[in-house]
Amino acid sequence: MRGTKTLRRTFIKSALVLATGMATLVSPYALAKDYPEKEELKFGFIKLTDMAPLAVAYEKGFFEDEGLYVTLEAQANWKVLLDRVIDGQLDGAHMLAGQPLGATIGFGTKADIITAFSMDLNGNAITVSNDIWEQMKPHVPMQADGKPVHPIKADSLKPVVDKYKAEGKPFNMGMVFPVSTHNYELRYWLAAGGINPGYYAPEKGDTSGKIKADALLSVTPPPQMPSTMEAGTIYGYCVGEPWNQQAVFKGIGVPVITDYEIWKNNPEKVFGVSKQWAEKYPITHKAVVKALIRAAAWLDENNNANRPEAVKILSKPNYVGADYEVIANSMTGTFEYEKGDKREVPDFNVFFRYNATYPYYSDAIWYLTQMRRWGQISEQKPDSWYMDIAKQVYRPDIYATAAKELIKEGKLKAADFPDFATESGFKPAQVDFIDGLTYDGTTPNAYIDQFKIGLKGNEKP
């Protein structure tokens, strides 16, 4: 009798254990409607049109749909923004693609920043002042109607820079941050035209990037670009919208080339959070990415049909705040070069199509190759190092979880996304660069060695 009793007790016990075990096993499904760990969030942004996914996710209620109460706050410059994400004053932010990478490898402030959402493609341009444009114009090939042939290469700027150099005057240009897309794009364009934009040498404490420079690049916050150029401190700049169109609008400068023409469909901003934050609040992070994906999809829906509404949102003073007409120029698929020379650039701002929001490893590696090219990474690294850093910083796994949930909820279709089962995270070799070179993300060192101007192998500046 005693034996059966023990047996029964054991049985009950194990049944209980089994039941709890089942419960924990089942729970991921039961908690499919998991609530975010942190509901009140504050995100930072810089006044640029490509912050649009954040503004749209707020205004169209996508954040609230995920149970998030988000405050959006404009930041003074990229450094302040990054520091505030690192010290936790901001939960996340609109960041330059190079920022999470630069922070992770320790160029500038060292910190672990990750991204699971790429915010847009393209959207930048290079503008020169009216005076420089007049000097460049004689060297620019013209069409039959007297308008310049686009893309305008830096070859036509070279004589001007040479003249300044001969006269002993510095040729100053502005970009927005040492690890910004704009810095690399401006450098790419200048170097493709034979102008050396200068090297960095952090190992010697030189982080100004002016070693052996023909054109001296310095940092100016985006919204201040037009006024700094108007004051004569810089002769030209590379920046996102609306600050190129504003130069046209104000009549102080001429955009000469868009980044779409420097590298077709280049990745631009990302949504960055600190690694620590992402580990502490995984459900919140996923919810944020979901809301942002919906916002990006909304922005590109029906062939940009929602763009006018988006422009109206962006022109509010608490977002970008520039005039409707200025923002509309680029956001609605046209770009005005010289005053009156308005051309169609339908893909000037891409938010969702071409898998714009997916964080590709190959995008991360392109930025790392440019960091090496200009000496921000002071020594040669093996290809495997590039892969490792890209995998540390870019997190397509989080993106995929968020996207799959959206598909399950019926908010988006599987066809809107890359095929997650087979996607390697590397885009096929790309050839649409202004200098005609080919970029293959799987062989970074071979890519670096192709450039005429730039550090190769284990060279030092």
Partner: protein
């Protein structure tokens, strides 16, 4: 001689004219106290309007009085529109909370603050709260310090060089240090007040400390010899001496210092908000400058006038307090 709006003395001549007393003299008084300033303001508005029309910037014409009026109306309208949006936000939130309680009965609903933008009125209130906090903090430190220094010639000699060195330092120089120190020391998960508020308050405090210290010390040090002698004859102990002799005798100087401090505090705050991106009127000005829209200049001008009016108002309040606590009623304070 007072033309202060905070003083109802200016009503007196009207009453007298109405009563028929000394009509000629009082009408003259009215012209002098109200008419002339009014003419001054009108002339200024005309000059401003004319000058504004002839200044062309890359963002359009310099804002004249008409644009400023229009932008003030816009800012007010935006304020009320934002309040309506806030209402809708709370309603949506309540519905969402109710739904969640239905799904998960253990959930304790929580109402979160509105996440929309700060309106112009909100910015004004933030700035006022910040400046008064910084000023109060500075006063709490500065007055006792001033008294102690004023009482002892040795202490005065010891502290004076330090005070003289820190007094002329601009707030903008302090700001980076203050920001770093505040973010290093003020670490909590759920801050009661935002970091940016602490940064502003500390910067304001550091800059407006000195006039109060110097004036209080001077006031205490220059108590008439007779009073000091009385205190010695009565053999008052130190505490009683401070309470009964030093403080009452130096009150006018203390308030001279406080008034200076408050006006400095207000100027410093605007600069600090601008540079550190702390919420408030300074940030409003900076944001509008960055926006570079065709309305921006007009909005900045509205802010400038608001800042001026508030500064004027703060100064008048201090003047009233100074008058009421000053024992020498014959002295003209302005």
């Amino acid at each position: 001689m007072n033309i202060a709006l905070s003083n109802i003395a200016w009503l007196e001549p009207f009453v007298k004219v109405a009563k028929g007393e000394n009509v000629a003299q009082n009408v003259q008084l009215i012209t002098k106290t109200i008419g002339i300033p009014l003419v001054g303001i009108l002339v200024f508005l005309m000059l401003w309007s004319a000058a504004a029309n002839s200044i062309d910037t890359s963002l359009g014409k310099f804002p004249g009085p008409a644009q400023v009026l229009e932008q003030s109306k816009n800012l007010l309208a935006e304020h009320f529109a934002e309040r309506e949006r806030a209402e809708a936000f709370y309603q949506r939130q309540e519905e969402r909370n109710a739904q969640r309680v239905k799904d998960d009965p253990t959930y304790v609903p929580k109402i979160r603050d509105y996440t929309g933008k700060n309106t112009y009125i909100d910015q004004i209130i933030t700035s006022l709260v910040t400046v008064l906090s910084g000023f109060l903090l500075a006063s709490i430190l500065a007055i006792p310090l001033g008294i102690v220094i004023g009482l002892s010639a040795n202490l005065h000699a010891a502290f004076n060089p330090v005070i003289q060195i820190f007094k002329p330092v601009s707030p903008l120089a302090w700001l980076p240090l203050v920001t770093m120190v505040v973010s290093a020391l003020y670490v909590t998960d759920d801050p009661v007040v935002p970091k940016s508020f602490i940064t502003s308050v500390v910067t304001v405090m550091l800059c407006c400390l000195w006039p109060t210290v110097i004036n209080t010390a001077f006031g205490v040090a220059t108590i008439p010899k007779d009073l000091v002698n009385v205190s010695q004859v009565l053999r008052l102990n130190w505490i009683t001496h401070v309470r009964k002799i030093a403080i009452p005798a130096s009150i006018p100087m203390v308030f001279t210092g406080l008034r200076l401090s408050l006006s400095i505090a207000w100027m410093v705050l605007i600069a600090a908000e601008m540079l550190a991106q702390n919420p408030g009127l300074g940030k409003f000005v900076w944001d509008e400058f960055q926006n570079g829209s065709s309305d921006s200049l007009g909005r900045i001008m509205v802010a400038i006038i608001t800042i001026g009016l508030i500064g004027f108002f703060l100064d008048r309040v201090m003047l009233r307090i100074q008058r009421s606590v000053s024992w020498d009623k014959s002295a003209t304070l302005r």
